[in-house]
Subunit: 222 residues, 2 copies
Amino acid sequence: MMIRVAIVDDKPNNRRVITDKLGRDDRFMVAFEARDGEDFLLRMKDLAGTEYPHVVLMDLEMPHVDGVTAIATASSLYPSVSFVVLTIFDDDEKIFKAIRAGACGYLLKDESGKVITDMLINLRESGAGPISPSIAYKILQMVQQPELVKSEKEKQENIFLLSDREKEILQLLSEGLEYKEIGSRIFISPNTVKKHCISIYQKLHVSGKAQALRIAYTKGLI
Amino acid sequence: MMIRVAIVDDKPNNRRVITDKLGRDDRFMVAFEARDGEDFLLRMKDLAGTEYPHVVLMDLEMPHVDGVTAIATASSLYPSVSFVVLTIFDDDEKIFKAIRAGACGYLLKDESGKVITDMLINLRESGAGPISPSIAYKILQMVQQPELVKSEKEKQENIFLLSDREKEILQLLSEGLEYKEIGSRIFISPNTVKKHCISIYQKLHVSGKAQALRIAYTKGLI
DNA sequence: TGAAGGATACTCCATTTGGATAGTTTTACA
DNA sequence: TGTAAAACTATCCAAATGGAGTATCCTTCA
């Protein structure tokens, strides 16, 4: 059975390129094209359940109703339809919003025709949504650090007026090295390492390794 | 420059297969092999920073110390090293745990040699971790169902199987208190505090306060 | 030119820590 | 109710740590 595909993109040229890529493969047929999210939702309303596309290739930035909104609406109304983002945008926020809206795949437009068709066939056979490798890695990072997006915690590296050497020692200290290990790593005497450590503790107004490391971690010194 | 790869798998035959796959490509060299997580952590300790592998291909189910624990420990201790899971397991929980532990990629063993080498080259060039397509889709679903991720989020804190008492001690240790101070704070003997600390170090597979605190901070244990 | 601060190196000393070993009590669970 | 796990206590020893003091060499800057 042929896979019915709908294409939603505001650029006629983009739609034509995708249609051509799929047209060379007789496992696909383009059910319809839409120029934006609103157009897509209206066309879906006119279809009977048996005419729904299996897959919708959806651009993101479009007039009237954008891709994320269209996916959020349509994935609820038509749960049997798979929504795959096909766009040039690869920033974290768009990826995140599209997935949360209900996209089951995310492809970049620079993927080759064969990669796209292969992944769509696989979607049909195994249910696994198609995802471009670079997008997959960004999604992995979202799982890795859920509250990451508030990046850019200002490194106040110099409020304690540590010298370069002292910052270097502090870094090595945080890696769990002992005086003698640090010494041999940067070619100075363990005694000197200790002297640096004591200076660091004084500048940080702490007494001991653990407290110094606490400040280092929480203030972003390392 | 060649990419140094370490291979961690308890089956000698698996290690040989991977070594062979990489051996045909002169962009790679196998830095060392290890038979389990414990073996891997011990071998890493003996290396100088310049000898660290760029990438570690890690199986998950292994005796002594499993892959997730090894990644959790080593990704804190050696932040410059990339950890890629290479396994036959594709169940959600293993994937989730490995990613949260610090894996930057997840490959299935049935990937061809070329796919693996291509993705490792790409990791080197773009920093994007290699992810098998079917795994990528499962990760996407994790983002889609945040409550699932959230309920398992607490497990992150327990991948090292610290007891409540040990977590309490670790918390106090991070505040820079000494054994006797911790003891009087929670009304136990300093000797007991020390015993707990040593147990913590064993469970975290580290030797010393600084390394334990590093893992505690970077893995969100405190 | 001379003061100030950084980096280096050393000594002496008391304290803290890591590691091993060997127990007892308490708690949890099957 | 028995057993396993966790929590607690204790002691010994070698190593690492922190604290203080002293000293030389170098660069920077007023």
